[in-house]
């Protein structure tokens, strides 16, 4: 799969791209036959475009940083622990959270398709679904991290989690030093999507989040 995108032409014009025209015809037939409700399609899009996203995963990480008992529950049985924060659903039915340590850095991939923890991170970015990442994460994880500008200490080992079943993985990054005075909301603001995939680290200060 390529990393470029087909873009719609101006919706107001009559020159839809071929795939946009074909998708529109498909939607017409599915609505006409009563298989889909257009309002439900709009609700699905709204849910995954504007509601579900990495801000939810960041809340989970921040809670784990400030609450050792929660952190333990999260690492032992992630799905019910995440549900304590009101987070759950499609794409996060069977969560596994893996903690980075000074010795081990975790990286999440789906070499076979695009499995990704929707409930805590939303829908995956194009690079996560594309061949360069899916092919190389398992054989050259340091090279992949280099593409993101992330260089780990030489002594740090990497564990790559390939999402080959319905288990969905999220990385619990290490809390950055110098954040002792921050509250949970301020900590959550340090946690990027990439930090929870393993292709990044939390920002050192809030201004860099």
């Amino acid at each position: 799969m390529t990393q470029h995108h087909d873009h719609d032409h101006d919706e107001a014009s009559s020159t839809l791209s071929p795939i946009a025209a074909r998708v529109r015809a498909l939607e017409s037939i599915l609505i006409e036959k009563g298989y889909v409700d257009p309002a439900a399609l709009d609700a699905l899009i709204a849910r995954y475009e504007t509601q579900v996203g990495p801000h939810d995963g960041a809340r989970v990480v921040a809670r784990a940083w400030v609450d050792p008992a929660f952190r333990e529950r999260l690492l032992n049985a992630a799905t019910p622990a995440i549900a304590e924060l009101g987070i759950g659903g499609r794409g996060g039915e069977h969560m596994v959270v893996v903690a980075n340590t000074p010795e081990t850095h975790n990286l999440v991939v789906c070499t076979l398709c695009s499995c990704y923890p929707w409930t805590v991170l939303g829908l995956p970015p194009v690079w996560y679904k594309s061949p360069p990442y899916r092919a190389r994460a398992v054989i050259d994880p340091r090279g992949v991290l280099g593409d993101f500008g992330l260089v780990l200490p030489d002594a740090t080992r990497i564990t790559v989690w390939d999402s080959t079943a319905e288990l969905r993985y999220m990385v619990l990054p290490m809390r950055p030093p110098g954040t002792e005075t921050l509250d949970e909301m301020q900590l959550a603001a340090l946690v990027s999507r990439d930090a929870m995939i393993g292709t990044g680290l939390p920002a050192a200060r809030e201004s860099e989040a």
Partner: protein
């Protein structure tokens, strides 16, 4: 199947190129394809495993040159036709000709929050005791199913260790072809990078896969 989707360890695709400030969707048609795929899955006509199978069935050259939602779109059209929900002509013109086929359920807008907020778990009661325990050495079997499977090529024939047990889950290989959920024990299996990649792998690195019981055999037995 040994398709164009089974990418682990392949080379030559170039660097990963993150897109700063990437939007969730890049075109209106991507939004509609995404939502239609979820809503059609909700009708109960086919499983998520069947959808994955339809996407990875594309000829590798096509799969690797199509964008992500273009793959979803191609597979969705194919599943609709194969399940007799619409004809290719109807899909091409957007005009119904034959009557609709009844489906089990239709997703309504007010059900999106509750149903997708609670999810669709795929764990099931275990069919029997687990064959393996944490710490066991296992070999990923050297199998090459022509249909859907979730055992990636790069681990086949390699020895790893059972790290966690997850109970039983729907078995994708049978469920994808409508042959039943046939739940199996699911394990976290850890492989050293050197076991998978020889001297290309870094000592101390690991690759973890989730593997169904029938993908594995005890280490030390012949394949």
């Amino acid at each position: 199947m040994n398709g164009g989707h089974d990418l682990g360890g392949m080379m030559g695709f170039g660097p990963v190129v993150p897109e700063p400030g990437e939007p969730v969707f890049h075109a209106e048609w991507e939004r509609r394809v995404f939502a239609m795929a979820l809503a059609m899955g909700f009708t109960g006509t086919w499983s998520l495993d069947a959808s994955r199978s339809a996407r990875e069935d594309m000829p590798p050259a096509e799969y690797l040159s199509a964008s992500y939602y273009a793959i979803w779109h191609t597979a969705l059209e194919r599943q609709i036709v194969e399940n007799a929900l619409a004809t290719p002509d109807e899909i091409a013109h957007g005009t119904p000709v034959i009557p609709a086929r009844p489906v089990t359920r239709v997703l309504r807008a007010d059900a999106v929050g509750p149903r997708f907020g609670s999810g669709f778990p795929s764990d099931r009661p275990a069919p029997g005791p687990a064959r393996y325990a944490v710490g066991d050495a296992v070999v990923a079997r050297n199998i090459h199913p022509v249909g859907h499977t979730r055992l990636p090529r790069y681990v086949r024939g390699r020895t790893g260790t059972i790290e966690r047990m997850h109970g039983a889950f729907v078995f994708p290989d049978t469920n994808a072809r409508g042959a039943g959920e046939s739940p199996q024990w699911l394990y976290t299996v850890g492989f050293t990078a050197t076991a998978l990649w020889g001297e290309t792998g870094a000592v101390g690195d690991y690759v973890i896969v989730a593997a169904f019981e029938s993908y594995l055999e005890p280490a030390g037995t012949s394949t």
